[in-house]
């Protein structure tokens, strides 16, 4: 089935849907990872975005039940060069086309994904639309322009959990009171901005009891649960667009150890009094080199973000820069000098991506043990 992709600047790309009919709008971004399409599709940080994979052959290893990073597919649509109808992998339980179609997510193949990527690198992440129903370029371009975009918008409310839940080794367990596991030594509250399950798996495997709470939970309610540490998760969109959470985090600063990832890191930056800005086309992939300035070592990291903390906006007496991106020198990690709080812009929980940065979870555990 023929499909068209239209960008707000008038560029049109033609392809074929491999998941049936549909139409979707969103910000067009690209991911350079060569593995991990299922994890990417189930990562809530992609809410509001149309994801283009630079890796040309997608679907080769099918889909399975273990590689879910949330219980839903989040990108508005999925753009690829070629879909592989045949998959070969011992864990596969189904194919990607059915996986997307059953969730009403439009998947389009036969696209010149290299051209889309190069264009995005040149002009920045644009608003776009994908459709099999409307094949009139002019009409599509109009619709793309009418989409409000991500800047200043609250995307978190669309993906944060509706009710608190705990985590057991088998997955989520609804309710409060750290009811997923009872044995863990450290009680961690995960403030859910759109988390990935692997963060909870990693905390669980490090002797933590995890309680996930909705993004709008107040600081007082969080403290009332008597946590040993607070984990600020990743999530979609603009950190400046989410009402209330910066104030919540500010109130928690200094009370308990805090570890932030991605959006959680940006929210910490805002809570420290800093500002954030939108990157031209963002970092999305599994091969971003990051240097740990405290050890001089380089780690290869998984990333997925369009916004970034402006380190110049922070007070250097209070906040220390700990990690930088070796490709563009952007801020990748920071630590508060007075409070037990640290954060990284990238995804140490990987899934997909290298395991080089798992030490950050250990650091969080150590911090909780000390406090």
């Amino acid at each position: 089935m023929k499909a068209l992709v239209a960008l707000e600047d008038g560029r049109i790309f033609a392809g074929r849907s491999f998941t049936g009919a549909g139409e979707a709008t969103g910000e067009i971004v690209f991911n350079t990872g060569m593995t991990g399409y299922q994890e990417i599709l189930t990562d809530p940080s992609y809410k509001g975005q149309i994801v283009t994979m630079t890796c040309p052959l997608i679907g080769n290893y099918g889909v399975n039940n273990e590689d879910m990073e949330s219980n839903a597919v989040h990108p508005a649509a999925f753009l690829i060069k070629e879909y592989s109808k045949i998959h070969s992998n011992f864990r596969a339980t189904g194919n990607l086309a059915d996986f997307l179609a059953s969730r009403n997510i439009l998947g389009v193949e036969g696209l010149d994904t290299r051209a889309i990527t190069k264009h995005t690198r040149e002009v920045g992440a644009l608003r776009g639309i994908v459709s099999t129903q409307d094949l009139d370029p002019e009409s599509l371009i109009k619709k793309a322009r009418a989409w409000p975009g991500l800047v200043g918008r609250d995307m978190v409310s669309a993906v944060t959990c509706e009710a608190p839940y705990g985590w057991s080794e088998h997955g989520p367990v609804s309710g409060t009171g750290f009811n997923g596991s009872t044995a863990g030594k450290h009680k961690v509250i995960a403030l859910d901005f759109g988390l990935k399950y692997n963060q909870l798996r990693l905390l669980d495997s490090r002797d933590c009891q995890v309680q996930v709470v909705p993004a709008q939970t107040s600081a007082a309610d969080i403290m009332a649960m008597r946590p040993d540490g607070i984990f600020l998760t990743n999530g979609p969109g603009d950190p400046a667009g989410i009402p209330g959470v910066v104030e919540t985090v500010r109130r928690l600063l200094g009370k308990k150890p805090i570890f932030g990832i991605c959006l959680g890191h940006q929210i910490l930056g805002l809570a420290y009094g800093g500002s954030t800005y939108k990157l031209k086309f963002g970092h999305r992939g599994s091969n971003q080199p990051v240097k740990d300035l405290t050890t001089g070592k380089v780690e290869i990291t998984a990333q997925n973000h369009g916004f970034c903390v402006d380190f110049k906006s922070l007070n250097p007496d209070e906040v220390e820069l700990t990690h930088i991106n070796l490709n563009d020198d952007s801020v990748e990690g920071m630590r508060h000098k007075k409070y037990p709080a640290f954060s990284v812009q990238y995804h140490p929980e990987n899934a997909p991506g290298p395991h080089d940065s798992l030490y950050l979870f250990d650091r969080f555990i150590e911090m909780m043990a000390k406090n």
Partner: protein
Amino acid sequence: MPKREDIKKILIIGSGPIIISQACEFDYSGTQAVKALKEEGYEVVLINSNPATIMTDPEIADKTYIEPITPDILAKVIARERPDALLPTLGGQTGLNVALQVAEMGILEKFGVEMLAADVDIIKKAEGRESFRQAMYNIGLKVPESAIIHEMDQVSAAVTRIGFPIIVRPSFTLGGTGGGVAYNSRELNELCKTGLDLSLNSEVMLERSLLGWKEYELEVMRDKNDNVVIICSIENFDAMGVHTGDSITIAPAQTLTDREYQVMRDASLAIIREIGVETGGSNVQFAVNPADGELMVIEMNPRVSRSSALASKATGFPIAKIAAKLAVGYTLDEIRNDITKETYASFEPSIDYCVVKIPRWTFEKFPEAKDYLTTSMKSVGETMAIGRTFKEAFQKGLRSLEIGCAGFGADKKFSHRDMELG
């Protein structure tokens, strides 16, 4: 960190004559390395018996010895040139073997020559079958069930334990020369006899056959600050049982989920660290059971390998050049990335295309060679093709073989009967 100033003169060993399994790949890597070292201001002395190589061109090295690559000659060159260091990891298996021999003769110690990138212990640990098995065991990785034999009368006991089919691998030979798969005692005895003759230390390993398992390779680089990156993953189109040099291979790996790929990546990092390769590139080979994902380590080459040339061209990351710079003290985050010119070599190439390598055989020129594929390499060359899809790369690769093939399914004379085994 700056480059080492305590070294002025470096000796590099070439790979000698072109043979099956060791062709111009090592001329490519050696030439890159010599140029990189000269660029850094080192005096480079080269020994290579093969004048039909780029690296022996007068303007490449500062001094070139066109002499047989044997321990005695190498010892003489060392005595005459008095180099400060020897870089043995760029001339393929020949270079590594000869470097090991001169080290054991005490020549390096006598003349105060330092072995760069990998020392004697590291080479032995990676190349010796039993030491490698122990090293893998130390880091919790599995290797196939096996037995080492030095004499023919040890064969039958090993068979009882492992069972047929058995893979025969002589130690310290090139491209698995003399190796093969034995399905019965007659074949096994034959392979063991030749294997013991060919092996540098009269050692043959008998190994559980992983026939039919998926086969993968990862190209790894490490610097002296222990930064490790994966340059390229390669998946074999032909399953275990066919030598990698005789397999159609694809980069990047195509049928691994991220979870499985990362397990392999972690394993490669652990292996290069456990074996102790201080700087430079290594090649790690894995087998994966297609039924349940069980992972086994097949081997590790503590040097620039035959696949490195392919991985370099597939990704644009010049492995040998970077390996040479790492050997003299640079770290990955200090070396410019040749592709982008703006970023550094401490990254993992991500490609938006498929690379297919297809071997080329000339059985018509070797009437005595059996024209079926086993674990010892028989191809004499290869083509490499890049395409935006696997099909595109595969067809281009087939056409490039220059055997009159127009591509899979595109030849009128091609019939499915040709694919049936005779």
